[in-house]
Amino acid sequence: MGAAQDHVQVSGLRITAPAAGGQETPIVNDVDFTIPKGQVLALIGESGSGKTSIALALMGYARGGCRLAGGGVRVGDTEILTLDASQLRTVRGNRIAYVAQSAASAFNPSRTIMDQVVEAAVGRGLISRPAAEAKAMGLFRALALPEPEAIGGRYVHQLSGGQLQRLMAAMALMTDPELVILDEPTTALDVTTQIDVLRAFKRVVRQQGATALYVSHDLAVVAQVADRIVVLQRGRVREAGDASQVLEKPADIYTRTLMAAARPSTQARPHRPAPQQAPPLLEVRGLTAGYGRVEAGVPKIPVLRDVTLSITKGTTLGVIGESGSGKSTLARVIAGLVAPASGQVLFQGQPLAPTLSGRTREQFQRIQLVFQNADTALNPAHTVSRILGRPLAFYHGMDGRARNRRVAELLDLTQLPAGLADRHCGELSGGQKQRVNLARALAADPHLILCDEVTSALDTVVGAAILDLLAELRRELDLSYLFISHDISTVRAICDDIAVLYAGQKVEMGPRNGFGDAPVHPYTDLLIGSVPEMRRGWLEEKEMAATPPPLATAQSANLCRFLPRCAARVEGLCDRLPPPRIVLGGGNELLCHHDGQALQHLQRGRQSAVSP
């Protein structure tokens, strides 16, 4: 490829960050790549690999303390790194646009969206206000936003995360930039939203003929949008090439590791049949819970509605659902942190008291909670040995030598170096923190561990290692897990049974094998179908999900919660009667007016999408 036709050229880029003792450590080292005009290049790597630093360098910007130490960045015929501050400002506004990970924080909550979208273009005198608004509406339409004429009049709190992300793209595209930088634009979104946003981005970037840099850690997402891929590790390029080459014939071992970690394989593990006579380890019966004052059995902010599930000893129950569906609330109720409004939780056949004060120490000990975000789950004021030592002292009365020995054993069990014991958790990496978090739960000697999104905050490779550790611990210690996640492929990889929550309702539950093929609940179908596959063209093949027309009437409380988004709904039935619970041949129990055959018919053609 001749240099003349490359629109963007990065050569020998070096970025350094300040290190202790006034020195500098390189965070990006000798990075070269080019982007031909109108193409999309994806930068992919784990967190800390320097993706965002490079993306920002393309605009001539270095984050606090960091320095663009060497090399060059050419966009069109401009050498970005030689520009002064005012020239940079012009280039950033007019020719290069940036879409960040969290759109919500990029908008001012007290002004309308339209004001903010047109502000830059109008402010620079590029275009008149009415023309700008017309153009913005065109972009809204192209980005498949609802009500493109009216949406500009709304405020941030009236829009969903996916909509804001698209509005931010519209704002970035107002000045017809020649280069668009998208930094993890869909990472914070639910899969079902991500797919719409991806599709919209892709179409609009094509239409505008812009060159794009797409930063992501998710290879499957990148596969949908990129023409070229650059794989980064610790600030160095591991592999660069055509998207199809990198995805189909990765040359570098690290790329292969990333691909392996991205989609955890379903380990062929026989589903252990439950011994029928023993009561299940944990049983949740007709649980309704939420926040705020409870009136007539319903809390002020209802979250969970009539949820029933059970976990047999030694098995793992996966709970999936999108953000806000009540997954964490479920874990909190079981742990006793939130009292149920009605319904019961039984542990080893014994009802658990609704609040902490009614529970015995034995019950506390046997149920342990592990939170998603290890940064906030470990007390920053305590050392690792104190964090692990407390449950040992508290439950087992261990002190002195015995405790230290056990702490060392726990560190070993979670594959952490013994030297970690004296450190504060601020000095640990994300993966190490999550291991300590897990070790603390193990210290209690529990029967059941409630894992709330334990890998969501981690990179794919580190997350995959944690999943392996969980599986291994389960084998060794005969543990049971309630494994909460928003990612169905993770859940399918490690769980025996799966429950699907939608808006606080358990819409489907069954053995994991029941989730491989149709029929499944229409919502489960949408969830599974929205997980990008790691091959090019998947997004195009996936026909636009038939978005149902909006409902004529307001939804009443006991109807199917999925009704407004359900493409399979039956007029006159779903919007009148609450759905019955039906049991399919594969053992899946679901909440829907359709029966297995009808669902099978509706979902034909999806088959094998995620089958192992």
């Binding site: 392996a260 342990q368 789950a377 508290f394 030297g419 490779v461």
Partner: protein, 297 residues
């Protein structure tokens, strides 16, 4: 298939830090204004503690034939309206001001933080009761409150201490409560509850260590407010009673020297100013969130 790349968790051992090196490190991170503040604070603490020992003359002794004398070799800061040595009186006044303010601020901050922790970890109604009580206390104007009490009981050091502490406890409580309630929602505290830990342990071991920095900053601020309150009371004649005098009383008793710009009034005024400014500079330079959340009384 399991990934076979080493985890990104390289060890980052660092040399064990001794207390001395930690202090040095902390000092080097302090901006200049903070160091000036620290120097002033340390100076006043030392003067407050050792003042009477350093004083060249007796506090009440009439040692100069001149009133409102200016600097001289015998009287570094001149003499006051009765011909007493200003330096000696200043040193003794510093003892009262610094000591009294320190004790009241400690009392206010400790009570405030203790009640805040109690309100946080105990059932809802305890919080309601404490918060309502504090709201009542905070709605009483502090000067009037002080005037009434002093008028009723006569001024004594204990009473002054209690008045100052009672005046600033609600503010300390509010700030500590806001902090503690936030921390109480942190996952590690929730995990401790789910572990079955008692309230005392959660308050003392999980929550308190993480609010100590902002509470310390707040303590500094309360100290300043109390110095000003006590000085104000003394200026009104309600504070420390003669023959003893705190810095505020020194300003008041020498007020007639104001027209001449006498050192006898400038010196204690400057003392109050440098003490309060020093504490403020130090607080503002403290690292982290401590700075932001303080404010108001």
């Amino acid at each position: 298939m399991t990934p076979t790349v080493p985890l990104r968790e390289e060890s980052m051992l660092k040399p064990a830090s001794t207390a001395a090196s930690r202090v040095r490190h902390w000092l080097s991170g302090l901006p200049t204004s903070g160091r000036v503040g620290l120097a002033l604070v340390v100076l006043w603490l030392v003067l407050g503690a050792a003042g009477p020992l350093l004083a060249p003359y007796d506090v009440g002794a009439f040692v100069s034939p001149e009133v409102f004398d200016s600097m001289s070799a015998q009287h570094w800061l001149g003499s006051d309206y009765l011909g007493r040595d200003v330096l000696s009186r200043l040193l003794s006044g510093a003892q009262y001001t610094v000591g009294l303010a320190l004790a009241s601020a400690l009392l206010a901050s400790a009570t405030g933080a203790g009640l805040a922790l109690t309100a946080t970890v105990c059932p809802r109604w305890v919080d309601e009761v404490i918060s309502r009580f504090m709201d009542t206390l905070i709605s009483i104007p502090s000067k009037v409150f002080a005037l009434v009490l002093v008028a009723a009981f006569g001024s004594s050091l204990t009473l002054l201490l209690l008045i100052a502490a009672a005046t600033y406890t609600p503010g300390a409580f509010r700030i500590a409560r806001a902090l503690a309630i936030n921390l109480n929602q942190m996952d590690y505290v929730q995990v401790a509850y789910a572990r079955g830990e008692g309230r005392l342990y959660i308050a003392a071991a999980e929550i308190m260590p993480n609010m100590i920095h902002p509470v310390l900053a707040d303590f500094g601020l309360r100290f300043v407010f109390i110095v000003l309150l006590l000085s104000g009371l003394s200026f009104l004649g309600l504070g420390v009673q003669p023959p003893n005098a705190d810095l505020g009383s020194l300003v008041r008793e020498n007020i007639s020297g104001l027209g001449d710009g006498a050192l006898a009034i400038l010196a204690p005024a400057m003392a109050i100013a440098t003490l309060t400014i020093g504490v403020n500079l130090l607080i503002d330079a403290l690292p982290g969130r401590g700075r932001r959340i303080t404010g108001g009384r």
